[in-house]
């Protein structure tokens, strides 16, 4: 399954990574090398093999439905990034995290 520049651009956009045309070419070379490594898998017959997601065959433990968290908004928001675009303010206002306008 050969990769092309369009694929690189598409997955970069899905992953929200900016990639210039020049970078895309270099990335294509490297990713193609990695995919070449991965392609070895295709030679293996895996008919009827159950996929393995977890190494231990255990099931999900359930948490009792109790409120244990306390309000730590101030502590958490002290890590908020700077707003940017010339502002040296943290990207928070009235307890809300600020982002460029969300269009629905």
């Amino acid at each position: 399954m050969a990769l092309n520049i369009t694929d690189i651009k598409r997955i970069a956009h899905l992953a929200r990574l900016e990639i210039s045309d020049q970078e895309a070419t270099a990335t294509l070379t490297k990713l193609s090398g990695i995919l070449g490594l991965i392609e070895q898998m295709q030679a293996v017959d895996t008919t009827n093999i159950t996929p393995m997601s977890h190494s231990q065959d255990v099931t999900q433990r359930l948490r009792e439905d109790v409120v244990t968290a306390i309000n730590q908004r101030e502590a958490f928001q002290s890590n908020a990034p700077f707003l940017g675009n010339g502002s040296a303010e943290k990207a928070v206002d009235s307890g809300l995290y600020l982002v460029p306008k969300v269009i629905e």
Binding site: I11, A15, L17, R61
Partner: protein, 488 residues
């Protein structure tokens, strides 16, 4: 003192030969002297560190000491530690101060251990040379031109250069064992689920496991006693009775302490791609094991050569999703200039992540994307089972598997930095145990051209205590693990 075992350090503290503050200061002084060159630590905070040491001294004075109380450890910068800059080696988190403690940090705190600082690492633990760190590469204390291995390169250099009594690491595909091999010390990746991942910044959730990086098996055992345990905040944490990993060490006595032990030697681990000098050292170590009473059995792990392809599907897939939270909204890097929401995402993430991380995000995104899932992700999960089944078969024939940890000794900085595939092959012998969730260990087995060579031990699930005994037996009759780089 800097060469002492954890047990000896503990005794010195108990006997008041030295205080924790003095011991800690000794290491801080060494860090101040050598870290500017070696770059093992990203974050240091002498005030916080010494406050912990003082508290440990009070605890020792009150007779409340536990085995690790007062001993200074280095913590890989992948663990959130409250009030500490916690970067995971990334520009993305360069200004992130963790508001909570990882399970591992809490366990060390509760044991009264002292946190010396946060160690350098490959960005988001993606790398085998520590060269992907935003905070710069780390020098291998045995040869400053060479890499310490990765991703736990900072912890590795700190242990090897005696810039800590011992350190923590994490291992997703070999990130404890490969640097242990390249820097000449003892490192253990436990069975998946034994050490809680809570607060350990995720790379590939189904593979990540924290473990000890120390001078000896005995030191690792003492650290395992602290690091393991059930944690209800991690759904994959296993609820098992607490074990004492040191319990068998004192039974390792006499000339043939390992009589009856069957060591499996997988033929695939001694084939093409293994450096001849490394192979020689490993064979010598195995010969030593025969002298200790063990017998060797030839085994096969037929699917092991697929572990790299499988890993480079599964780990990037999980990582691509795990790293989506770094979007510049709530914490972490946000671009200084952006037009709109999409632009903010794209710029913040592109600026915040380094090249290797971006590469893996792209690979992971690709293998999960519509139309490719079955051919890549599902296929990889199926082969993952085949790889795990190989081990199940092998452990019917042997008690422990041995082979090289890494295909070569430490390589020169920059040598593989631009060739991801060559870099990925560093983990050819370590990845399979991560995929299977099995414990793996690397112990110093000698030198090749002045550079350390590690012997890898792989055990069955929950067989860490026996592996530590087996490693300890070797370390009772050899002194490779006591070797220290010159000039430091």
């Amino acid at each position: 003192m800097i060469n002492s075992s954890l047990k000896n350090l503990s005794q010195m503290l108990a006997k008041k030969e030295i205080s924790s503050v003095e011991m800690t200061q000794t290491f801080l002084d060494r860090i101040n002297k050598y870290n500017p060159t070696i770059n093992a630590y990203i974050a240091l905070n002498a005030d916080k560190t010494l406050a912990q040491a003082k508290a440990a001294d009070v605890r020792i004075a009150n007779g409340k000491a536990e085995p690790l109380t007062g001993i200074p450890f280095a913590q890989k910068d992948i663990f959130c530690a409250k009030g500490w800059q916690t970067t995971c080696g990334s520009k993305m988190l360069a200004n992130f101060v963790a508001p909570y403690d990882a399970y591992v940090i809490t366990q060390f705190d509760n044991a009264g251990a002292v946190n010396l600082g946060k160690t350098n690492m490959d960005e988001f633990a993606m790398g085998s040379s520590n060269e992907t760190s935003y905070f710069g590469g780390v020098k291998n204390p045995w040869d400053f031109d060479r890499v310490p291995g990765g991703s736990s390169g900072g912890s590795a250099a700190a242990v090897a250069a005696r810039l800590c009594a011992a350190a923590t690491g994490t291992d997703t595909g070999g990130s404890i064992r490969q640097p242990a091999s390249l820097c000449g010390f003892t490192g253990l990746k436990p069975t998946y689920g034994l050490v809680s991942r809570y607060g350990m910044i995720a790379f590939a959730s189904s593979l990540d496991q924290a473990g000890p990086m120390a001078k000896s098996a005995e030191d690792c055992a003492l650290m395992m006693n602290v690091m393991t345990g059930f944690d209800e905040r991690d759904s994959t944490s296993l609820n098992r009775p607490k074990e004492d990993y040191t319990r068998g060490l004192s039974n390792i006595q006499g000339t043939q302490p390992l009589k009856g032990l069957r060591i499996g030697l997988p033929k695939e681990y001694f084939a093409d791609g293994l450096d001849a000098n490394v192979a020689k050292v490993v064979q010598e170590a195995i010969a030593e094991y025969r002298k200790l009473g063990a017998e060797t059995v030839d085994i096969s792990l037929p699917n092991s050569q697929l572990s790299i392809p499988v890993y480079y599907v599964l780990a990037p897939a999980e990582a691509s999703s795990n790293l989506s939270r770094y979007d510049g909204v709530r914490y972490g890097h946000r671009a200084a200039e952006y037009d709109d929401l999409m632009d903010m995402y794209m710029k913040s993430r592109s600026e915040g992540f380094g090249a290797e991380v971006k590469r893996r995000i792209l690979i992971g995104t690709y293998v999960l994307s519509a139309g490719y899932y079955d051919a890549y992700y599902l296929k990889a999960q199926q082969i993952r089972r085949l790889i795990a089944d190989d081990f199940t078969q092998a452990f019917k024939q042997c008690d422990v598997i041995m082979g090289p940890t890494a295909p070569s000794t430490a390589f020169k900085a920059g040598e593989k930095a631009d060739d991801p595939v060559a870099m990925y092959l560093q983990d050819v012998y370590t990845i399979a145990t991560n995929l299977a969730g099995l414990p793996g260990m690397s112990i110093p087995a000698g030198f090749s051209n002045g550079l350390p060579v590690g012997l890898q031990l792989m055990g069955n699930y929950f067989d860490e205590a026996r592996m530590l005994d087996v490693a300890h037996a070797y370390q009772q009759v050899t002194d490779w693990h006591l070797a220290m780089p010159e000039g430091i």
